[in-house]
Symmetry: C2
């Protein structure tokens, strides 16, 4: 196993993915290059549109880094139809670049379902992976808390969750330098007998492994940072993720509502705004950027439709780190190890 890749990472960035494409994608990509020029950028999308936007924004861009892909998959397109109906879309073309070894990683703020489905279908799964998974970073009192799965699959079996644990373990260990990440199952109580069938059966598998399984945790333990990796099915994970993402907006709503009641309170809130923003900055999803799709034979990072340039930049740097640390072959080795023990 190579501990690190020495070749420069080539990253295909879907320039036409997000709600503010290609502007945020271009700015984010150029900022990533400014921060670290040890990767090769490939901007995938409509060439004219990319050049025009760069001109409008007074950004200088090398034409050669653009890979023309005229079609766009929008948020309403059905993921499974994407490859057939829009073969020249930025998403399909980007994933193909990875499949054909013309790129090492793919970053997109486009239609999540389409990015996940196209990546999985074109790049294929790693050996011994039944189901790929999407993991999301949650801010917590602990610095690294990840929830797997947050939306790849809603109906899952115990061995799927166990597979997520193997992938998540390598991911968190390598990217966060945590030797033996703690892993828990999300449930309705800490006691072993509490939970649904999926939780109880997965607990058996985890207990019999050499993963650092600490048992069940509850909803409150996510933000409290009780462990590094929290496992659940994609139905629960997706609902939690979207609920969590809606919290800052709801706080803003409550502050605004309060400010509207009284001019003095309004002034106070105005004066305090920056402090509050700084204090609550760990809640800003852009700092993390996007979520990794693990279990596929390639590196794909998926961002929000509303990704800011900061988010795009961070997604690119994360993809580069995954490549540089040779995560794919580490996943493969670990998966093989567990498969042999069965």
């Amino acid at each position: 196993m190579n501990d690190s890749n020495t070749k420069k990472c080539r990253i295909a960035v879907d320039a036409l993915g997000g709600d503010f494409a290609p502007k945020h994608e271009i700015i984010g990509s150029l900022n990533a290059l400014k921060e670290s020029n040890d990767f090769e950028l490939i901007l995938v999308g409509n060439k004219d549109k990319i050049l025009q936007t760069a001109k409008d924004e007074n950004l200088s861009i090398d034409e050669n880094i653009i890979y023309h892909a005229p079609e766009i998959i929008n948020m309403h397109d059905k993921p499974i139809d994407a490859i057939k109906n829009k073969p020249n879309s930025s998403i399909v073309v980007s994933a193909k670049l990875v499949k054909e070894n013309k790129a090492d990683a793919f970053v997109s703020a486009g239609n999540t379902g389409a990015v996940a489905a196209v990546s999985t279908l074109l790049m294929g799964r790693l050996p011994n992976v039944e189901r790929p998974t999407i993991g999301s970073f949650f801010p917590s009192k602990n610095n690294a808390t990840f929830v797997f799965d947050v939306g790849a699959f809603v109906d899952v079996k115990p061995n799927h969750l166990f597979g997520y644990a193997i992938l998540a373990n390598i991911f968190v260990k390598e990217l966060y330098n945590i030797e033996n990440p703690s892993i828990a199952l999300l449930s309705v109580g800490e006691e072993d007998e509490k939970g649904n069938k999926l939780v109880k059966e997965t607990a058996q598998l985890l207990r019999n492994s050499n993963l650092n399984f600490i048992g069940n945790v509850e909803g409150r333990d996510i933000l409290n940072g009780k462990c590094n990796i929290i496992l659940c099915d994609g139905f629960v994970g997706n609902i939690l993720l979207k609920f969590g993402e809606s919290v800052p907006g709801f706080m803003k709503h409550l502050l605004k509502q309060h400010a509207d009641k009284n001019i003095f309170e309004k002034i106070k809130i105005g004066l305090f705004k920056n402090t509050l923003k700084k204090a609550l900055s760990p809640l800003n999803p852009d700092l993390y950027g996007g979520v990794p799709l693990l279990g596929i034979n390639g590196i794909t990072i998926i961002g929000h439709g509303s990704s800011s340039p900061l988010a795009i930049k961070n997604m690119i740097l994360r993809a580069k780190e995954m490549y540089n640390k040779n995560l794919l072959s580490k996943f493969e080795d670990s998966l093989k190890n567990y498969a042999e023990k069965k």
Copy 2:
């Protein structure tokens, strides 16, 4: 059907339930009486302890309102064993008072599982109820958003969720004066085809009913107040509830962490504390008090172990309102209606 009860409501308050019992229970109960003396209070618990605490707190209490129950069910007791092992506990005795028509409602901040199990076993279910359910209020941009179920049962079937909808519909309609509460299923996307088997099958039942079913909502729609009633199984609901409850504490942690960095920021946060507290007051669970256990042949409201006197007071007033508005017979009528249509 009687639209309202004219007899004075008799409320059994578990005086030894919560973490701060009996102090919070006594203060909350007396405050409820101060606010509205049109109910009869029965404080259930160890008589000496209640009288001693009242004395320590300089509160005058009429000895006759105490119903002696010397045993205590603590947070570690197994719910199902409670009736057999601790028949003289405040929880079992309170539920028995309702069963024997010596009380009309039961309010407790004790062991949730025990309160739910004992209430269900002793009071029994209403006709046509397969499963009782616990519903929780969530703060939202809309004023009334309830999630059912938040923890009564983790493995459920579509007809159970449909039953929750019937109960929740009456509860929200009567207590919040909303003529036709909007009802949605919690899922991973708004589209009908998104969701797990439970969601898809329950949607069929709801679509064929005359309930105001608006389709699927996502995790973000809870705080956004997209509808009045959100249905999910107790596994998802319980995780969400506990996650949501942990949010204010996490905010505090982030503010403290930020304050510790810099004395000026610390001062600013100190000055702003009250405004923030007021603005975010809708997040205070004590305002709502507790969660109702619906579907049983009685009125039971369950509070947090850490319930404040304010929470206890509000739980009592809510129980009284449920009784005064004759909710039990309204539940029964509605359940019968739907059963006949089958």
